[in-house]
Amino acid sequence: MKRKLIFIFFVLLIGGNLSGEENNCIKCHMELEDELKAPAILFENDIHREYGLKCNDCHGGNPSVEDIDLAKDKTFKGAPPRNQIPEFCGSCHSNPNYMRKYNPSLRVDQLSLYWTSQHGKLLRKGDTKVAVCSDCHGVHGIRKAINPKSKTFPWNIPSTCGNCHSNKELMKEYGIPANQEKDYRESVHAKALYEKKDLSAPVCNDCHGNHGALPPELTSIAYVCRQCHLSSSELFSSSPHKTAFDELGLSECEACHGNHKILPPTDEMLGIGEKAVCIKCHEVDSKPYNIAKLLKQKLNNYLNRIDLAETLLDKAQKSGVEVSEPRFKLREVNTILIQVRDLIHGLNIKEIEEKLKNGNKLLDEIIEAGNSALKEVKFRRKGLIITLIFIFILAIALLLKIRQISKK
C-alpha cells in the first residue's frame, strides 16, 4: 500500500511538472481565429522560441495556467502600442547582461541607433507610421538575419524596405520618391545579388545603415561607396574632380553613377559621346573636354586591339593551333584594362598612359603570335596538299604496277 502511494505521488509530481511546461497561451491562441491565431502559428519558427523564451517573457502573464483570467495576471503586458515597440524590444536587446546569456556576440546598441535614425526621430515626434522593429523583423515569426527566410536576409531586404518605401501614398506625405526599390532591382548590385547570388552585394542597409538608417549626406557618399570600392574612391579623392565637386556641391560617385539605379559602368560613360558623363559639366573644346576625348580615343584603341587579338587567337585555335600562351598573356591585358578603367577615377593622365603602354606592348606580342599561328595554319594546309599530291601520284603508280603484274 505504501509503495502504491509513493508511486501515485511521483506520477502526480511528474504530471504536474509536465503541465507546468505546457504553454497555455499557444494552446488557447491556436483555437482562436485569424490575427489572434497568427502569433501562435508564427511563434513556432521564432528565434526567441529557439532560445527557450516563451510568450510571457515579452508579454508577461502566466502561461502555465489554463484559466484566461488567471493567465492574464498582474504581470501581463499584452501587445505594446506602435510607439512603444522600440522600447519594448529594447528592454531586452539593449540590456548587455541579459543578452549575454543568449547571444554574447549580438550588439546591444540597436535602440540607441534607432533613435538617431529618421524613423526614430519621427517616431519621437509622434509619427507612428514610421518603421519600428516589427516592420523590418516581423512579429512572432522573427528569424535570424542569416536565415534565408528572414525579412532581414540580404535578398529580402529590398522588399522589406520596399514595403513602405515603394508605397507611393505613404511616401507622398514625407515628400520622398517611391521608386528606390524598383531602381535598385535594375542596378548592378541587384544583378550581383539575385543573378550571381553574391550575398556580399550591397542592399539598402549597407549604404543607409540599418537601425540608424539615414540617407547618406553629400560628403559621405564617397565614404559609403568606399566600403567596397576602395581603389576607385581613393583615386577620386586624389583627382582634380574632388575639389571641384565639393565646391559645386556635387555628390561624388552619385553624380556620374547615380544612386539606387547604379547600372553596370560602361566605357561609353567616358569621352564626349551621347552617353558620356563628362559632357554633363565640361563645355565643348574646353581643356577637360579635350582630355576626356583623348582618353576615350586611347581606351577605344586599346579595346579594338584586344578585339583584334581575340579574333586572331580564336581563328587560330579553331584551326587547331595551340595558342594557350598568348591566351594567358591576353588575361594580363584584360587585367590592365580593368586597372585603366579604375585609374580614370583619378584622372592621372601620365599614369593611365603608362598602363596603356604596357598593355599595348603585350598586345603587340599577342597579335604577332596570333598572326604566326595563322601562318602556321596555312603552312600545314600547304604541306598537306603537297603530301596528298605525292600520295596520289604514288597510289596511281602502284595501281598501274599492280595491274601490270596482275596481267602476267
Binding site: 587547331g320 593551333v321 595551340e322 595558342v323 594557350s324 600562351e325 600545314r380 594546309r381 604541306g383 598537306l384 603530301t387 596528298l388 600520295i391 596520289f392 604514288l394 597510289a395 602502284l398 595501281l399 604496277k401 599492280i402 603484274i405 596482275s406
Partner: protein, 359 residues
Amino acid sequence: MKTFWEKIWLYFDYRFKISDLAQLTKKKKVPEHKYSFWYYFGGICLFLFIIQVITGILLLLYYTPSADSAFESIQYIMSQVKFGWLIRSVHSWSANLLIGAIFIHMFSTFFLRAYRPPRELTWVTGFFLLLIFLAFGFTGYLLPWNKLAFFATRVGTDIVGIVPIIGEKLKTFLLGGKVISNATLPRFFWIHVAVLPFITVLILGVHLLLVQTLGMSTPIGLSDREVKEIPFFPNFVLKDFLAWILILGLIGILCVFFPWEIGEKADPFASAPPGIKPEWYFTFMFTTLKIIPSKILFIEGEKLALFGFFIGGLFWLLIPFLDKKAQKEEKSKLFFIIGLLILIYIIVMTLVTYFFPKL
C-alpha cells in the same frame, strides 16, 4: 671481282640466310576472291601499330609523366616542338583508327569463318590483341591529364571496382590508391609504354607467325573457279602498301583539319563536367551499364551486365572451338546470327551514347 655492295650482301646473306627467306616469299601465294578486300585490314592494323610505336617513341622525348607537368608538356609539344602537333595528332588519330580497324578485321574474320582449323590460335591471339589495344587506349587517354580524360578514367575505373571479389583490389592497383591521384598517372604511363608493348610484341609475334605459317584462309563455299592465287610478293604486298599510303593520307587530312585537342587541365577538386563518357570504343559497355536497372531480381544490375560482358567475351574467344559446323567446312546460320546481333548491339549502343546522351 665482286663489287662493294655484293660483298655486303654476301656478308649478311651468309649470316641471316636472306636469299632463302626471299625464295620463300617468292613461292608464297595468297588466295584472291570476292572477299579479299577484308584481308587488307590485318595489314592496316599492323601499319597503324607501327605508326603508334614510332610516334609514341617521339612523344616520349618531351612528355613528362607526372600530374604536375603532363598537361603542360603536351601543351609544349603542341605549341613549341617542331611538328610536335603533327606527331601527337597522328598518335591520337591513328590510335582511334587502329581500334576501328581491329574491330573491322575481327568481324570480317568472324563472318568469313577464318577462325576454323587450323587457325583457332590466330583467332585467340587476335582476341587478346583487341583487349591489349583497348587497354592501350584506356591508359593512353589519361596521359594528357586533361579534364575530360580525368573524369572519363574515373568512370572507367569505377566500373572496374564493381567486379566482384577482385574489383576493388584491381582498381586500387590501377589507380595507385583509392581514387585517381598524382600516383595514377605514372602508373598508367608505366602500363602504356612498358607493360602493354612487351605483351603486344609477344602476342603480335605469335599472331603474325601463325598468319605467315598457315597462310590466309579461303571462305567456306567458294568454288575453285571463284578463287585464284596471287603471289604474296610483290602482288599482295603492293596492294597492302597501297592501302597503307591511303590510310596515311587520311591521317594527314584528319590531323591538319581536326588536330587532337588538349582541352583543359584536370582539376581533381572540380566537379565532373556534364555528359562525361569514355572513348567511343567503350561507349557500348558504358551505355549498357547506364541504362540497366539497378536491380534485376535480386542481383545488382551493373554486376549482372559486367557478368554478361565477361560471358560474352569468353564466348567470343572460344568461337573457333564452339562452331562445330565451321570445323567441318560448313556455314553455321546460328553463329552468323549471333555475330550479327553482337555487331548490331555494339553499333546501336555506341550510336545511342552519342545521339541520346541523356538516356
